[in-house]
Amino acid sequence: MSTLKAEIQSPPVYNMERQSAFSIGHAFAEVIKTILTYALLCIMAVFVISPIVWIIGASFNNASSLLSATAIPKNPTISHYVELFTETKFPYWYANTFKIACINMVVSVILSMLTAYVFSRFHFVGKKAGLLSILILQMFPSFMGMMALYNILWQLNLLDTHLGLILTYAVGQIPYNTWLIKGYLSSIPKSLDEAAKLDGASSTRIFIQVIFPLSKPILTFVALSQFMAPWMDFIFPRLILSSSKKMTLAIGLYDMIAGDTNNNFTTFAAGAVLVAVPITILYVCLQKYLIQGIMAGANKA
C-alpha cells in the first residue's frame, strides 16, 4: 500500500484550535489519556518482545537444559551455534528448505500466472467449468488427500525426494493462486492488450511485455507466500520425507525438542534464532506487498 509510506512521511495533522473550551481540567484529562496510551503501548511491547528476548538469550546460554535457559545468560557462549553445524544436520535442513522454497516459488508462480492469464484473457470451451472447478478445489483443505498423495508419490517413486514435496506444494496451491491472480488480472483493462495487438504484438509478447510487468504486485505476494510455506509446514515433509539428511527445518527443529527430556533446548534456541532472523527481516521489508496481496485476496477471492 503506497499510502502507508505517505502516512509515515506526513502524519495527519489535527486541528486543535477548533476545540474552544480549553480548560485546565481538559488539559489534565489529555495528559492522563496520553499516559494511559503509552502505558498500554509499553505493556503490549513487553508482551510481544519477551518471548523473543528470552529465546535469543537462551541461545547464548552456557548450559543445555530448559531450566537453566535464562533471558540474560550468565556466561554467554556461542557454542550452541557451533554445535548446530557440527553435531546436527542443521546445515542440510537449512539448505534443503531454502532449495525447496526457491523452486516451489518459481514453479508455482509460473504455473499459476500462466493459468490465470489464460483464464482472464481467452475465451474457450470449458472456461466456465474450469473456473468453477478452481473455485471449488481451493476450498478443500490440503491435508484431505494426504493418504492418497502418499500412495501416488510412492507409485511415482517420489517418496523421500524433494521433487515430491515441491510438486505437492506448488501444485496444491495452483487453484488458490490462480484465483487470486486472475482477480488481479481482470482489473487490468483489456484495452491495453487490444492496443498492443493492433500494433502487431503476439500473445506471448503481450504477456511478457504488458501483462507481466503490470501484475508484479500480486506476483510478489504469491511468490513470497510460496517461498514462506516450506519454512513453516510440518504435515507434508513429515509425510513425504524420511531420511534425516533430506528433512526440512520444520521437522528438524520439531524433533529436536519433541521429547520431554529437553536436553537440546539451547541448541534448538540457536536454530530457532537462525531461522527466524532472515525470515523476519524478509517479512518486515516486504510487508507492503503482503498487505496489498492479502487485501486483494480478501476482496476478490
Binding site: L4, Y14, L66, M144, Y283, V284, A298
Partner: protein, 433 residues
C-alpha cells in the same frame, strides 16, 4: 439416406470413417487413431474399473517365510479412479467424433463443402492455444489435487482402518454409509466428535475475535494523534506476524512448560506462586494458554491490515469532515471505524475459516494434550483438524478421518461460498470473465 445420418452411423462404428466419407482425411486419421488407442487401453480400463468396484480379491498369503503378494486395494482404487477418467475421456472423444461427422455431413447435405485440412488445422491451432498452455497444469492438478481429493472422499465409504483392514496385508471393502452411521450412533465416536467440534467452534470464534479486536485496538492506539514514533511502535508489534509461526509456537511450548519453563520459574522466584502452574497439562489452563499465545501470534496481522486501511483514507474526506465541525472523536467513530470494519470484514471471515483448520497452533503448542480419557484418539485441546491428523498418522483410522474431512469441508466450503457470494467478483456481471 441423408449424408449426415450415414456419416454419423459410420463414425459410430468405425471412428473417423464418417469423416473420411465427408472427405476430411486428416480428421479421419486422428479419430481412427483414437479408436486404436481405445482398443489398446480397453483391457486396462476394464481391469481398472473392475478393481475400483471390487477393491481387490486375492489376499496376501504368508506361508512361513514365503510371502505371496495379493491385491493392494489402495493402489487398485487410485488406478481405478485414473482409468475411470480415461474411460470418460474416450467416451467424450467418441461423442465428439459422431457429432463432428454429423455436423459436416449436414454441410454436405446443404451443398456446402466441409473445411479443407489446411483451413481446419489453422482453426484448431488458433483456438487450442489456451488448452495448450493449460495442459501441463491440468495434468499436474489432476494427479496431485483432484485424484487425492476423490480418493480421500471415497475412503469414507470403505473400511480402510487399523488393525484388520490395512493394505497390502489385508484387503479393504466398500461399506456404504456405515462409517457415517458409526460416527453419529456409536457413543465413543459420537461423544468425541461432539466434544471436539464444540471446542473447535469455540476456538475458532474466540481466537478470531480476540485477534480482530486486539488488532483494532492496537491499530487505533498506534495511529492515535497522541502517539509519537508511530513507525517504531508498529515495527515492534509487527514482529510476531513476521516471525515463522512454527518457531514462535515451539518457543511458547517451552516457555509454558509446567516443570522447567521460565514462566513458572520466574513466578516462583518472585514469590507469586508456590507451586508450579500446570499451564499445558490442565485442560482449562491449556485452553487459556492457547488463546493467549494465539493472540500474540494473530493480532499483528489485523493491526497491519487495519493500519493499511486507516492510512489509505483520503485526507480530503477527513478535512471535509473537519470543516463541517467534526471533532476527532466524530472523525474516528463516523469515518475511520466504519471504513476499517467494512474493508476488513472479509478478512474476519477468512480468518475464521483459517482458524477452524489451524493445525499449527494446536499441534505445536499442546499436541492436543492433555489426554482426555473419555475421547477416542483425541486430547482435550484437539480441534477437528488435529484429530483427523492423529487418526490418520498415529491410529490409522483412515475411514473415520475421511468422514471427518468431509464434514470439515462442508463447513469450510459453506463459509467460502458465503464469502464469495458477497464479493464484488460475484456481483459483477463479468464474474467469469
Amino acid at each position: 439416406m441423408k449424408k449426415s445420418t450415414r456419416a454419423g452411423i459410420m463414425s459410430a462404428v468405425v471412428w473417423g470413417s464418417g469423416q473420411l466419407a465427408n472427405g476430411q482425411w486428416a480428421k479421419a486419421i486422428i479419430f481412427f487413431a483414437g479408436q486404436i488407442m481405445l482398443l489398446f487401453c480397453f483391457p486396462s480400463v476394464c481391469d481398472g474399473i473392475y478393481g475400483l468396484v471390487t477393491l481387490g480379491e486375492t489376499k496376501m498369503v504368508i506361508n512361513g517365510s514365503k510371502v505371496t503378494m495379493g491385491d493392494n486395494s489402495i493402489i487398485l482404487m487410485i488406478f481405478g479412479i485414473l482409468w475411470l477418467f480415461v474411460a470418460v475421456a474416450f467416451l467424450l472423444l467418441y461423442i465428439f467424433n459422431i457429432r463432428d461427422a454429423v455436423k459436416n455431413g449436414r454441410l454436405r447435405d446443404a451443398g456446402k463443402k466441409p473445411l479443407r485440412f489446411k483451413e481446419w488445422w489453422s482453426k484448431i491451432t488458433d483456438r487450442s492455444f489456451p488448452y495448450f498452455v493449460l495442459l501441463p497444469t491440468i495434468i499436474l492438478v489432476f494427479v496431485f489435487v483432484v485424484l487425492p481429493i476423490l480418493f480421500g472422499f471415497l475412503i469414507a465409504f470403505t473400511n480402510y482402518s487399523a488393525p484388520d483392514h490395512l493394505p497390502p496385508k489385508n484387503l479393504i471393502d466398500w461399506v456404504g454409509f456405515q462409517n457415517f452411521a458409526d460416527m453419529f450412533r456409536l457413543p465413543m465416536w459420537n461423544d468425541t466428535f461432539g466434544g471436539v467440534l464444540l471446542w473447535t467452534v469455540i476456538w475458532a470464534v474466540v481466537s478470531t475475535f480476540t485477534c480482530f479486536f486486539g488488532g483494532l485496538l492496537m491499530a487505533c492506539l498506534v495511529n492515535s494523534r497522541r502517539v509519537r514514533f508511530k513507525r517504531f511502535w508498529r515495527s515492534i508489534y509487527i514482529l510476531p506476524w513476521a516471525m515463522p509461526g512454527m518457531v514462535s509456537l515451539l518457543i511458547f511450548r517451552n516457555m509454558f512448560n509446567g516443570q522447567f519453563g521460565p514462566i513458572n520459574t520466574f513466578l516462583r522466584q518472585a514469590n507469586i506462586i508456590e507451586q508450579n502452574i500446570p499451564w499445558l497439562s490442565d485442560a482449562l489452563m491449556a485452553k487459556i494458554v492457547i488463546f493467549i499465545v494465539n493472540f500474540w501470534l494473530g493480532f499483528p496481522y489485523f493491526m497491519a491490515m487495519m493500519t493499511g486501511v486507516m492510512t489509505s483514507i483520503p485526507s480530503e474526506l477527513l478535512e471535509a469532515a473537519r470543516i463541517d465541525g467534526a471533532t476527532a472523536k466524530d472523525e474516528f467513530r463516523k469515518i475511520t471505524l466504519p471504513l476499517v470494519l467494512y474493508s476488513t470484514a472479509p478478512l474476519l471471515i477468512m480468518s475464521f475459516a483459517g482458524n477452524f483448520n489451524n493445525f499449527n497452533v494446536i499441534y505445536f503448542l499442546t499436541n492436543g494434550n492433555p489426554i482426555n480419557p473419555s475421547y477416542k484418539f483425541a486430547g482435550s485441546t484437539d480441534i477437528l483438524i488435529t484429530w483427523i491428523y492423529k487418526l490418520t498418522k498415529d491410529n490409522r483410522q483412515f475411514q473415520m478421518a475421511s468422514v471427518m474431512s468431509i464434514l470439515v469441508f462442508v463447513v469450510i466450503a459453506s463459509i467460502s461460498t458465503f464469502n464469495f457470494l458477497r464479493t464484488r467478483a460475484f456481483k459483477e456481471e463479468d464474474m467469469m470473465g
